[in-house]
């Protein structure tokens, strides 16, 4: 009998306010999963690729990544590229959360294999709706566990 494991939500977002809003709205939408926040692209890459001094991901845990595009050091598109090029990490759902709805940028991210794309709108209702959908998605979808072994 397979026990449905709790998905850990990773948020890579340089803006504290945005990160706070995402967290609050996830909670309000009824998403009670554990949330870990990273302040830029480099931090999340270190975590995912088991590098650096800080915490690294655990084997056998299911993760979902909410990824901002415009971040200092390494931007979201580069993070997405590296994640989707890794045979193990590419199983992880990646949801781009960004301030622009530039069709070219959206197309690029989809091409690179992002699972969803949410624009950070000022119209809060729409954002909440998107987050809620994400919550439903997280509740319904079986997120694959990511093994620690790397080829």
């Amino acid at each position: 009998m397979s026990e449905k494991k709790e998905v850990i939500i990773l948020i890579a977002e340089d803006d504290d306010g945005h990160a706070g809003l995402i967290r609050r709205n996830l909670e309000r939408a009824g998403v009670a999963n554990e949330v870990r926040r990273f302040s830029d692209g480099q931090e999340i890459l270190d975590f995912l690729f088991l590098r650096g001094e800080g915490p690294v991901r655990q084997s056998g845990v299911a993760y979902t990544l909410l990824l901002d595009i415009r971040m200092p050091r390494v931007d979201g598109v580069e993070v997405l590229r590296q994640v989707k090029n890794d045979p193990e990490l590419k199983k992880m759902p990646v949801i781009m959360i960004t301030t622009t709805d530039d069709p070219q940028e959206v197309a690029l991210c989809h091409e690179m294999g992002c699972n969803s794309y949410i624009t950070k709108p000022v119209e809060y209702e729409a954002f909440v709706h998107a987050i809620r959908q994400l919550g439903l998605y997280l509740a319904v979808v079986q997120i694959p566990e990511i093994s620690r072994t790397q080829p």
Partner: protein, 543 residues
């Protein structure tokens, strides 16, 4: 007796002989005399014929003494121009020139003596002072009876030819100085074809001063030489373009980068004769550089707009998001009535402040979205091809059918010439104009919109005309400005439509103009590059 008889006989005999001799002599002299007079008559006839011939000539003919200048012969032409002055003993300079007190200063006699009468006639041009006409004179020293040396002068009127030659010379000079004064590099060429008639090279026939200056070549090193020699290249530059013009006759213009000189040129090619062509070239290197700089600046500006609007939206998410959080927080506090006095009084104010914060955040968000849209438009790829405008506008009207019906608008579209552009962008332009025409209709009269078009050289011109509220002339520039809205309260919109319309048209090589007065309706005139296809007939269609 006998002696006497003998003498008599002798005398008689001698007399007879003498008589016979005399008879003979007389007869002979009479014949001679007859012959001589016949000869004289013939001579007279011949002289008369000669004079008749000389008189009938449309040329000035006279003979004068080389020393005294006395006129020995003058034909009718000479008599005519002298005004009947010719009489025995008159000198040539008296009869045939005006107000002369001595031999003409330009008299060629010394030269003639030098040349002698064995040589060819002396030829020169002179203007007659009596009639001011120009003559080509031929003079020669000839023997003349009773005079040591005489001169025959034959003058042919060349006034007209001379004028024509002068005119030609003047025109030649004019064109030549223009040719050389031109800033443009001008050269004339002749196409060289192989035995199968394929163009292989071209020869420089002439070039102007600017050509020599720009290419650093001397004219002698250019004229008559092959392009490959002149430019030191294996392949003659632009042979394909040039031969097309030289053989087809259709002029063409193009811009090109000429690597050997590291310069950009704008070249116009015309053919005035088969196999020959002229090139008029302008050095546009500076212009190109400026254009490139402008393009880079524009890109930079668009990048700034993009980054700025993106980065400005980021804090706005927080402003609105946390204002919203506060609204949630207030809601959790429960009804106002349950709160003690200071808080109960402050809460509605807080709610009101939050409302204003959020409304402003929304407004700013809309402006930033507009800026993003504008910057995206400037960066969007264009797909330029000939557009059937009848089809395009037809489709646009179909898709705006609901809006048109709702406004009870009558849209008339006449036959539209084709143009060149990007269909998405061109549709956007007309959608915008149509939308404006409906949005700003006059409330008291039925909305009439007319879309028409015509062709001018190189362009298609479209007019979108309405009978709406119109725009006062002082706003004609303002309406194209970013975020400018004439009636921000009455209608919705970002205030971006006409800004984007103008930007789109600019990228497509077109323009937009407005003609309008307040309350009189508006006419927007859109100009786009013409398509190559011929425009159709003028037909009216109503939708």
């Amino acid at each position: 007796m006998t002696t006497t008889v003998l003498w008599l006989w002798l005398v008689a005999g001698i007399s007879m002989v003498l008589a016979a001799g005399l008879m003979f002599l007389w007869r002979r002299s009479a014949r001679l005399h007859r012959e001589m007079s016949a000869q004289a008559v013939r001579l007279d006839e011949s002289r008369e014929n000669l004079v008749t011939a000389l008189n009938s000539m449309d040329a000035l003919v006279y003979v004068s003494d080389m020393e005294t200048c006395e006129l020995l012969f003058a034909n009718d032409y000479a008599t005519r121009i002298s005004g009947g002055q010719i009489r025995p003993g008159i000198r040539c300079w008296q009869a045939l020139q005006k107000d002369m007190t001595g031999p003409c200063s330009f008299c060629q006699n010394p030269k003639l003596i030098e040349a002698g009468h064995q040589n060819a006639p002396h030829r020169w041009h002179l203007q007659n002072t009596l009639n001011n006409r120009w003559y080509e004179a031929r003079e020669k020293v000839i023997p003349w009876p009773g005079h040591r040396q005489a001169k025959i002068h034959i003058g042919i009127d060349i006034t007209e030819q001379r004028a024509a030659t002068e005119a030609l010379k003047e025109s030649d000079q004019k064109w030549s100085s223009l040719f050389n004064a031109m800033q443009e590099i001008v050269a004339l060429h002749e196409l060289i074809v192989d035995e199968k008639g394929r163009p292989v090279n071209y020869r420089l026939l002439d070039c102007n001063h600017s050509y020599c200056q720009n290419f650093g070549l001397e004219r002698q090193r250019v004229v008559g030489r092959l392009a490959t020699e002149v430019y030191g290249l294996t392949n003659p530059p632009f042979l394909l373009e040039f031969s097309g013009v030289a053989l087809g006759g259709e002029p063409c213009s193009f811009e090109s980068y000429f690597a050997p000189m590291d310069r950009h040129f704008s070249i116009s090619v015309v053919s005035h004769r088969k196999n020959q062509f002229a090139t008029i070239t302008s050095d546009i290197t500076m212009l190109k550089k400026m254009q490139d700089e402008l393009k880079a600046k524009n890109r930079e500006l668009e990048q700034i707009i993009y980054v700025a609007s993106h980065d400005l939206r980021s804090p706005l998410v927080n402003v609105d998001g946390y204002a919203r959080e506060l609204e949630f927080a207030i809601k959790t506090l429960g009804p106002v009535e349950l709160w003690p006095e200071p808080a109960a009084r402050a809460l509605p104010d807080i709610a009101d402040a939050l409302h204003h914060i959020r409304a402003s955040a929304h407004q700013m968000d809309n402006l930033l979205k507009g800026l993003l849209k504008l910057s995206r438009l400037g960066r969007a790829a264009l797909n330029i091809h000939p557009l059937d405008m009848n089809h395009l506008i037809g489709q646009l009207i179909e898709s705006t059918g609901f809006q048109i019906r709702e406004a009870d608008a009558n849209v008339v579209v006449t036959n539209l010439p084709p143009c060149r552009g990007d269909d998405v962008h061109v549709t956007q332009v007309f959608a915008n104009l149509l939308d404006n025409a409906i949005k700003y209709r006059a409330p008291l009269r039925p909305c009439e919109i007319r879309i028409s078009g015509r062709s001018v050289i190189g362009y298609a011109i479209y007019t979108v005309e309405d009978n709406g509220v119109g725009i006062a002339p002082e706003f004609h520039t303002k309406i194209f400005e970013l975020f400018h809205r004439l009636q921000p309260k009455a209608t919705d919109g970002e205030g971006l439509g006409l800004t984007m319309t103008r930007q789109v048209l600019g990228r497509l090589g077109g323009t937009i103009q407005i003609e309008s007065a307040s309350g009189q309706g508006s006419r927007f005139i859109v100009m786009l590059p013409a398509a190559i296809e011929p425009p159709g007939d003028q037909k009216e269609r109503t939708s």
